[in-house]
Structure formats: structure tokens, C-alpha cells
């Protein structure tokens, strides 16, 4: 630490330049991670926050709601399977809500209609208004982001391409599906909307898209074997099965991995070149008795101090950016994620400094004598 700090203080400009680059990199890493987190929340928060552990799909549906069609008759059989503590069906369709009878562009809002059994474990907690009721099928609860679009408690809106209209009786939070606000309806209402065209239910009795299960350590194979035509997956797998979810996350992930690799090289190369420049100095110190460990520690602690302070500045800048970002941006910082990426960045820069440590251990103290005969 002694040498490291003395040198940092003495060659401020040099270290400041590399610190600025590292701050920018970590800033970008945190922003990307926030965007990735925001996007995946937007894509699937309804699924992610759902109190279900497993999802039963139709066989061959690739764990995707839109490709799956099951009969609710299965619910009774599923409830008897070992370790299953609760069962509830669910259905989704995409739709558009029209404010009143407006013809303006901004008065059409994309929504995802999610049909559930009122009062089941799938119904999210209400933050305003009341919950769903079985006898009033057109009374719905919606995500609070619809308030930003101008919808209020008690508003009735028309569905595009349908004669049905729905009335908002309650608001919930963090419920988005396929990047749009979720609208929860009783499952009978959902059936009416989803299978408006005759024959679109393929003749399935009481059709639903999937059946959610609660329960620890449910044996998926047993269910697959006993109930033919079904495919049971974990909730995490169902999130992955959402259209575009993997692709979206994959893109962000790829950028993050590239950034981390770039930061490793920048830090590694900077300190390597720096070490080469100072090889004479290191030779002198070795000649007067410094061991490789002493000099190696100096470089590693220098990298540590530089990376840690750059990361901290990067985090501050990220939270600053988050504060001024428009609400509509799908940006969501997760403290756990920020912490994880900080550690990853720190470890990567420390590992890349080991190249310099190796270089130091190879420097010959004879260099100090200025000439080797």
C-alpha cells in the first residue's frame, strides 16, 4: 500500500486518465444492467412476482402461454399430485384499450389481459380499490402505470376489435406482461375475449392457457407421465419461454460480457505498459533488497484502490442518471445486481493486474547497475 499510494499521489494525471476510462466503463456496465433488469421486469414481472412455483403447459408449447391450450378439467387431477398444495388456471391475450370512444392515437393503449380465478393465489395484492369478484365479470384490476395513460379508478374502457368493455375497480403494482400493463380479469371474461371466434378453442372444455401450481419439490416427471399431453416446468423456465425474453436478455448480456472483457484488457494493458516503463525502478528496488511479493503487492493494491474508487464513482453516476431518466424508460436498478457487477469488475481488474505482477517477478535486479557485462 505504501508504494502504491505514494505513486498514485505523485503521478495524479496519469492515474486520473485511466480512472476516468474505468469510471465510464463501470457507469456503462451499471446502466446496461439497469436497462436489462428494467426490460426483463417489463417483459415478465407478472410471471416473476407470481406466487406460483410450477407451470403446467400443453405438451409441445415450448413453455409459452401463447402456444399452450389446456382444459381446466386437469386442475382437479393436478391438485391430487404429490407435493402440490394449490392449483389455479390462467390465460393471457394481448389487446388494446380505447379511452371512451376516442379516435386519437394517444388514447389507444396496449394491454395484456390475464384471466385468473378471483381470490386465487394468482391475484396480486391491491394497492388501491377492490379486488376481483366472480359475479362481476367486467370489473378488472389493472397495473398502476395505466394511471400515467390517464385511466382512473371507476373508468370504463372499450376493447379494440370487440364489443366488450371493462371497468377498473382496483390498481396493482409491478404487473407488466410482454412489456405492457397487465389487466386482470376473471377467467370467464378472459375466455369470452380470447375465444370470441367460434372454434378457436379447438373444442377444449373450459379452456385455459396454463395451470399454475404451488408446492415445494413437485416431481415434474410424474405429472408429465400421469397426465398425457402436459408439460410441467418451473416458473423460471416459464419466464424464459416468454416470446422475445431470452433474445432481449441475451443482447444485454452480450454487451455486458464484452464490456467486462474490454475493461479487463484496458486495466491489464495499462498497468503492463506502466510496469515495463518502470522496470529500471523495480530493478533498483530489487537490488536493495525488495522481494517480488513486496513489489507485486504494490501493483495489486494500486489496481485495487483505482478500481474500487472508479467503481464507486460509477455507481454514484448511475444513480444520478437514474434520477434524471424519464419515467417511461425501462430502467430499474437492483442493488443486488449493482453489487454483483461491482464485485465482478473489481475481480476482473485484479486478475488482469496479475500480468504485471508476473512481469515484475522476471525483472533482473542487475539492471540497477546500469549495465550488464
Amino acid at each position: 500500500m505504501f508504494l502504491a499510494l505514494k505513486e498514485l499521489r505523485h503521478s495524479r494525471t496519469r492515474f486520473l486518465m485511466i480512472a476516468i476510462i474505468f469510471v465510464l466503463i463501470s457507469w456503462l456496465v451499471f446502466i446496461l444492467s439497469g436497462l436489462g433488469n428494467g426490460l426483463s421486469t417489463l417483459a415478465a414481472s407478472t410471471f416473476k412476482t407470481m406466487r406460483a412455483d410450477y407451470v403446467v403447459f400443453e405438451q409441445g408449447s415450448k413453455a409459452s402461454m401463447s402456444k399452450s391450450l389446456l382444459s381446466n378439467d386437469l386442475s382437479a387431477k393436478l391438485a391430487e399430485m404429490p407435493n402440490v398444495s394449490a392449483v389455479s388456471p390462467m390465460g393471457t391475450i394481448m389487446a388494446s384499450a380505447i379511452k371512451g370512444s376516442s379516435k386519437l392515437n394517444e388514447d389507444k393503449v396496449d394491454i395484456a389481459i390475464i384471466g385468473i380465478n378471483p381470490g386465487s393465489f394468482l391475484e396480486p395484492a391491491i394497492i388501491e380499490g377492490t379486488g376481483l369478484t366472480s359475479d362481476q365479470m367486467t370489473k378488472v384490476i389493472v397495473n398502476e402505470t395505466m394511471k400515467d395513460e390517464g385511466f382512473k379508478l371507476g373508468d370504463t374502457f372499450q376493447l379494440d376489435g370487440s364489443t366488450e368493455s371493462l371497468t377498473i375497480v382496483g390498481f396493482v403494482k409491478n404487473q407488466t406482461y410482454n412489456h405492457v400493463a397487465a389487466v386482470f380479469t376473471p377467467i370467464e371474461e378472459w375466455r369470452k375475449l380470447a375465444f370470441a371466434a367460434p372454434g378457436s378453442d379447438k373444442g377444449v372444455m373450459d379452456p385455459v392457457n396454463a395451470i399454475m401450481l404451488q408446492g415445494k419439490d413437485i416431481d415434474r416427471n410424474t405429472i408429465n407421465e400421469q397426465l398425457s399431453g402436459t408439460d410441467t416446468v418451473t416458473r423460471a423456465a416459464a419466464v424464459q419461454g416468454m416470446p422475445g425474453y431470452k433474445e432481449e436478455n441475451g443482447t444485454i448480456m452480450m454487451m455486458l460480457v464484452f464490456l467486462l472483457a474490454i475493461s479487463a484488457f484496458i486495466i491489464g494493458v495499462f498497468f503492463y505498459v506502466f510496469t515495463m516503463q518502470k522496470s529500471n525502478q523495480f530493478g533498483i528496488m530489487k537490488a536493495i533488497g525488495a522481494k517480488n511479493g513486496f513489489l507485486g503487492k504494490a501493483v495489486v493494491s494500486q489496481v485495487f484502490v483505482l478500481s474500487l474508487s472508479s467503481i464507486i464513482v460509477g455507481i454514484l453516476l448511475t444513480y444520478g442518471t437514474a434520477a434524471i431518466m424519464p419515467q417511461s424508460m425501462p430502467f430499474m436498478l437492483d442493488t443486488k445486481l449493482v453489487f454483483t457487477y461491482s464485485i465482478v469488475l473489481l475481480v476482473i481488474s485484479l486478475l488482469s493486474s496479475l500480468v504485471s505482477v508476473r512481469t515484475i517477478s522476471k525483472i533482473d535486479p542487475l539492471k540497477a547497475l546500469g549495465r550488464v557485462e
Partner: protein, 231 residues
């Protein structure tokens, strides 16, 4: 126990193509504590190799190097580092100070190499620097020092661990005559008062009056020269 430095029949060979070059050819020398010895000779004569072997920087191909009673020719790299740190004080050519450390830290970093710096170490370093006339320069960086001051700092650094042997490699190389005399007499003074065994490699024959014995190096062979024959 042998005090000081004793080298017996040390040779160092280098392979150059098919030939075997003897940079050091059965060199023997004994330097007692309090004795200041000079080694002179043309460049390429093996002076630097000699100093490297004496200073535990290079292992001799043959022969014995005994430093304060310890044979250092069989030690490992790490042990040699320790010998250099505790037993040897190096005074090298100018501009061999660490550029980002001030004068006091140049000395304290040596203490750091062997562990923690205690308040006593710091007090000792300050006292040593004051004795060498650097009392007002404690916080100065090498770039702010004159050539003579740099060399005095290097002398202080060589003395900080109270080594038994002082080795100086052309300590006056970049100094003018007046400063060169100052530095050489300072080394001689410190060597005698502190009772160190010291060897100075130089080609500056003006400085030999400060030395007790003078050896001449030629083609890897070391021989005692008469003081009179030089003057």
C-alpha cells in the same frame, strides 16, 4: 567468524558461442570492517560483475563469497534478497532513487521491505539524513535535488539498515569535481565512523586518496595496486 567481506577464488563464466569468457577469473579479496577499498579498471574489465557477485546480485560460477561470516554462494533467490536488504548497502550511479518518493520515504521504503515502520525507524532515518546534511530536504522529491544531494540520499539509504558491507558503483559518475570529492569523502567518513567494510568501483582516479587499498581489475583478474603507482 570472518568480519566484513571475504571472496575466495571466485570466478564467473559466460558462454559466448563456443567460447567461454571468464568475466571474473579466480578473484580473491578481503575487506575488513572500517576499511574502504577501491576497485579501478577499464570498462569491460569485469568491475561490474565483481560488484554483482560481491553484492549478492549474481552467483559466482566457482569460489566462495563470505559476507559477515555467512557463505552466500549457495543461497536461494529469496535468501539473497534478504542478504541484500540487511547485510549490504548499495550506492549506485546517480538517478537511482524512486522518483515518486520524497527523501525521507526513500529510506523508509527500505524499512517497509522488511515489515512495519516504527516510530524509532523514522526518528533514526531523520537523524541519519540530518547527519548527511539533508535535514532541510526531508520532503523533497528526487527531481528537486541536486546531483550531490541525490547521492547523499543514496548514501543514507545504503546505511539505513545498518549493513555490514557498503558497495558503491561509480558513485560520482555524474558529479563535477567538487561534488565528487564531497561525496567520496562522505562515504569514506561514514565507512570509518560506522565501521563498515566498503568497496567502491570507480574509474575516477582523483578519488583514490580517500581509499585505504586500491585494487586493479583487468580482464577479470584482480590485483592489489600500490597507491604510489597510481599517483
Amino acid at each position: 567468524m570472518t568480519e566484513g567481506l571475504q571472496i575466495t577464488a571466485a570466478s564467473k563464466y559466460y558462454d559466448e558461442g563456443l567460447n567461454r569468457i571468464a568475466a571474473l577469473d579466480r578473484v580473491s579479496i578481503k575487506v575488513e570492517p572500517g576499511e574502504f577499498v577501491a576497485v579501478v579498471g577499464p570498462s569491460g574489465s569485469g568491475k561490474s560483475t565483481f560488484l554483482s557477485v560481491a553484492g549478492a546480485l549474481l552467483k559466482a560460477s566457482e569460489g566462495e563469497v563470505i559476507l559477515h561470516g555467512k557463505d552466500i554462494s549457495k543461497l536461494s533467490g529469496k535468501q539473497l534478497s534478504d542478504v541484500r536488504l540487511h547485510e549490504i548497502g548499495f550506492i549506485m550511479q546517480a538517478s537511482n532513487l524512486v522518483p515518486y518518493l520524497n527523501v525521507l520515504d526513500q529510506l523508509l521504503v527500505v524499512k517497509r521491505m522488511s515489515g512495519k515502520v516504527r516510530a524509532a525507524d523514522k526518528a533514526m532515518a531523520i537523524k541519519l539524513l540530518e547527519e548527511l546534511g539533508l535535514g532541510t530536504k526531508l520532503k523533497s522529491y528526487p527531481e528537486e535535488l541536486s546531483g550531490g544531494e541525490k547521492q547523499r540520499t543514496a548514501i543514507a539509504r545504503a546505511l539505513i539498515n545498518d549493513p555490514n558491507v557498503i558497495l558503491a558503483d561509480e558513485p560520482t559518475a555524474s558529479l563535477d569535481t567538487k561534488r565528487a570529492h564531497e561525496v567520496a569523502s562522505l562515504i569514506a567518513h561514514e565507512v570509518r565512523t560506522r565501521h563498515k567494510a566498503a568497496i567502491m568501483v570507480t574509474h575516477d582516479e582523483r578519488l583514490l586518496t580517500y581509499c585505504d587499498k586500491i585494487y586493479r581489475m583487468e580482464d577479470g583478474k584482480l590485483s592489489l595496486a600500490e597507491l604510489e603507482s597510481i599517483h
